[in-house]
Amino acid sequence: MELKELYQEIILDHAKNPRNKGKCEGYNHDAKAHNPLCGDKVHIYLKLDKDKNISRLSFEGEGCAISLASASILTDTLKGKDLNFSKKVTDDFLNMIKNKTKITLNSLSEDQITTISSLSGVQEFPMRIKCATMAWHTLLSALEKKN
C-alpha cells in the first residue's frame, strides 16, 4: 500500500479546505464524538425538514487529515439529501471501509462516488480506520436524537 493512496489529492484538498465547517443555522439534530486515543473531535449539526430532507449539514472538529477530510466529504455529499438515502450512503461507506466493498449508489454522481471512495485507502492502515469512520457514526447518532 502506497502512502499516496492514503493521502490522495482529494483528501488533502478537503483536509486543508474543509467544506461546511461551523454550526449551520437552525439545526435541529446534532451529535459529537471524540477519540480519546488521539484527541480527534467531531460535532455534526444538521437540519432535518418535515419532508425528511437534510436541508443543512455541517460540522465542527479538529483532528488529522483523514478525519477532517472524512467529515468534510460527508457534509458535502449528504447535504440536501433525503434521510433514508443518507442512511444508505452511510451504511455503504462504513461497509466499504470495513468489508472493502464498492460504493455503487445510482443517485450519487460519479464525482461523488470517486470522492467518497478516496477514503478507502485507510483499509490498509487499521489504526486509522476510526479517523475515517468517526464522522459517519456521529451522523447516525445525530439522526437518532432530536434537540
Binding site: Y7, C38, G39, G63, F125, M127, R128
Partner: protein
C-alpha cells in the same frame, strides 16, 4: 558492553518494517527487550517455573529464590534501605493507585490538598481524582512555565497547611523536563509532607538512589527499562508500608484468616496479593544487569548526545515546533509540524520504518495548556544513534512533501 552495534542485542531490530530498517523512537512508550531478558523468560518457564512463596517442592523453592533475588537486586539498584520496601505491581500505574488508595483511605479527609503538576501523566492524576470524588480532597496543580519546566517556587506557593501529599513526575513524558526532585523533596520534608515520585520516565534514564532522594514513594515501570511487560515496582519507605492498610485482598497477603477477623502479612507480602508475575520478575533481574553493564551514567551521556543532536537538527527546520525548552532535558522530543496533524506524521514516518508516538501521550492537562490537541513524540533509548535521527529528519521532510508544504 558498547553502544556501537547494540541493536544486535535486541532481536526486534532483525526485521524490516515496510521493507526498511526499524528506527525505534518510542521508548518512552515502551522499550524493546534485549536477548538476555527474552532468553531468561524462556529459560525460567522451561526449567524453573513454579508458583512462588507457596509450595515446598524443589521447583517452588527454585522459583521463589529467583523471584526474591530480583527483589534484592532492585533494592541494591535503587539503594533502598530494606528489601521489604520493594513491592512488585503490574505497572507504575498500579504502584501509584496502591499509594493513592491506601494512603488516601487512612490519611485524606475532606478539604485536604494533594499537589500534583500540569506535567503529570494521567496515571499520576486520575488515582488522586478518585480521592477528590470519594473523600472531598482538593487537587492543586503546580503550573508549567513556557520552557515546559516547573520550578521549586511554583511548588512552594502551592503548599498550604492542608497539603497532605505531593506527587509529581521525575521526568516529563512530553517535554523531557527533568524535575528538581531532590530540592522539592527537601522542601516537602521541612513541612512533613510525604512525596511520591512517578519514576516511569526517570528510572530508565537517571541514577536512582531513593535514600539520597529521601522520597516516600517512587513508582517504576519495568517495561520501559528494557524489562518485561506487565511489571512495575513501588518503592515505599518501610514506615508507610507498616502503617498503611493493605491494597488488594487475596492469597499470599494474609497472616491468619478466621471467620470473624483477618490479620495481614507484613510487607512486601501484604501488598502482593494473589499469584504474582513470576517470569517477569525473574527476567527483570537481567534488565537491571543489562543497564548496569552499560552503566546508567553512560546511558545518560549516550542518550543526551543523541537528544542534543536531534534538537539541533529539528530546530533548523522552521516548520517544526519543539514542545518545551527545559534546561535539564532527557531523551524526549515532542514536536508539531505546521500543517500536518501528529497522527498523519506518525503514519508517514511509519512508512519509512520510523516508530514514534502521536497523541496527547496521556497528558491532556498539559496539551490543553499548550493549546494543542496532540503532538508527535520521538523518544530515545539505549539502542538509538545519530543515524536514527537523520532518518527521522528525512522522514519529517517527507511529511511536508506529502502535505505539499
Amino acid at each position: 558492553m558498547e553502544f556501537n552495534n547494540i541493536k544486535s542485542i535486541f532481536p526486534i531490530f532483525k526485521q524490516k518494517i515496510k521493507g526498511k530498517p526499524l528506527i525505534y523512537l518510542d521508548s518512552a512508550n515502551s522499550s524493546q527487550k534485549p536477548k538476555m531478558v527474552i532468553d531468561e523468560i524462556s529459560k525460567f518457564y522451561e526449567t524453573e517455573f513454579s508458583n512462588v512463596g507457596r509450595s515446598v517442592h524443589t521447583l517452588a523453592v527454585k522459583a521463589t529464590n529467583k523471584f526474591e533475588e530480583t527483589r534484592d537486586i532492585v533494592k541494591s539498584y535503587i539503594n533502598a534501605k530494606h528489601r521489604e520496601e520493594i513491592i512488585f505491581t503490574k505497572g507504575a500505574t498500579e504502584a501509584i493507585n496502591l499509594v493513592a488508595n491506601t494512603y488516601g483511605e487512612k490519611f485524606i479527609k475532606n478539604g485536604d490538598e494533594i499537589l500534583v503538576t500540569e506535567l503529570e501523566h494521567h496515571s499520576n492524576y486520575v488515582p488522586w481524582h478518585y480521592l477528590r470524588k470519594k473523600k472531598g480532597a482538593v487537587i492543586k496543580f503546580a503550573s508549567v512555565n513556557d520552557n515546559g519546566e516547573i520550578d521549586i517556587d511554583e511548588f512552594k506557593k502551592n503548599i498550604t497547611e492542608k497539603t497532605k501529599m505531593i506527587a509529581f513526575t521525575h521526568i516529563s513524558n512530553v517535554t523531557g523536563s527533568i524535575m528538581p526532585v531532590k530540592k522539592i523533596i527537601e522542601m516537602a520534608k521541612t513541612k512533613n509532607i510525604p512525596v511520591l515520585i512517578d519514576g516511569t520516565q526517570g528510572a530508565p534514564h537517571a541514577v536512582l538512589d531513593v535514600q539520597d532522594l529521601d522520597c516516600d514513594f517512587y513508582a517504576i515501570s519495568c517495561h520501559k527499562m528494557y524489562g518485561p511487560n506487565g511489571l512495575g515496582i513501588l518503592y515505599a519507605k518501610k514506615k508507610w508500608l507498616d502503617e498503611l492498610p493493605p491494597y488488594q485482598g487475596g492469597g499470599g497477603m494474609i497472616s491468619e484468616v478466621k471467620k470473624d477477623d483477618i490479620s495481614y502479612a507484613e510487607s512486601p507480602n501484604k501488598y502482593e496479593a494473589g499469584t504474582m508475575q513470576t517470569a517477569e520478575v525473574v527476567a527483570f533481574a537481567k534488565s537491571i544487569k543489562f543497564i548496569q553493564d552499560l552503566g546508567i551514567k553512560n546511558i545518560e551521556n549516550h542518550e543526551s548526545k543523541i537528544l542534543e543532536y536531534g534538537l539541533e537538527k529539528l530546530r533548523k527546520d522552521n516548520s517544526v515546533s519543539i514542545i518545551g525548552n527545559p534546561k535539564n532535558r532527557a531523551s524526549i522530543i515532542s514536536f508539531t509540524i505546521k500543517g500536518v496533524h501528529p497522527h498523519d506524521i506518525a503514519t508517514i514516518l511509519d512508512d519509512d520504518g520510523v516508530a514514534i508516538r502521536a497523541g496527547h501521550h496521556c497528558c491532556q492537562i498539559l496539551h490543553d495548556k499548550l493549546g494543542i490537541p496532540a503532538s508527535a513524540r520521538a523518544s530515545i533509548g539505549v539502542y538509538n544513534n545519530k543515524e536514527d535521527i537523520d532518518v527521522l529528519c528525512e522522514s519529517i521532510k517527507k511529511c511536508k512533501k506529502v502535505f505539499q508544504i
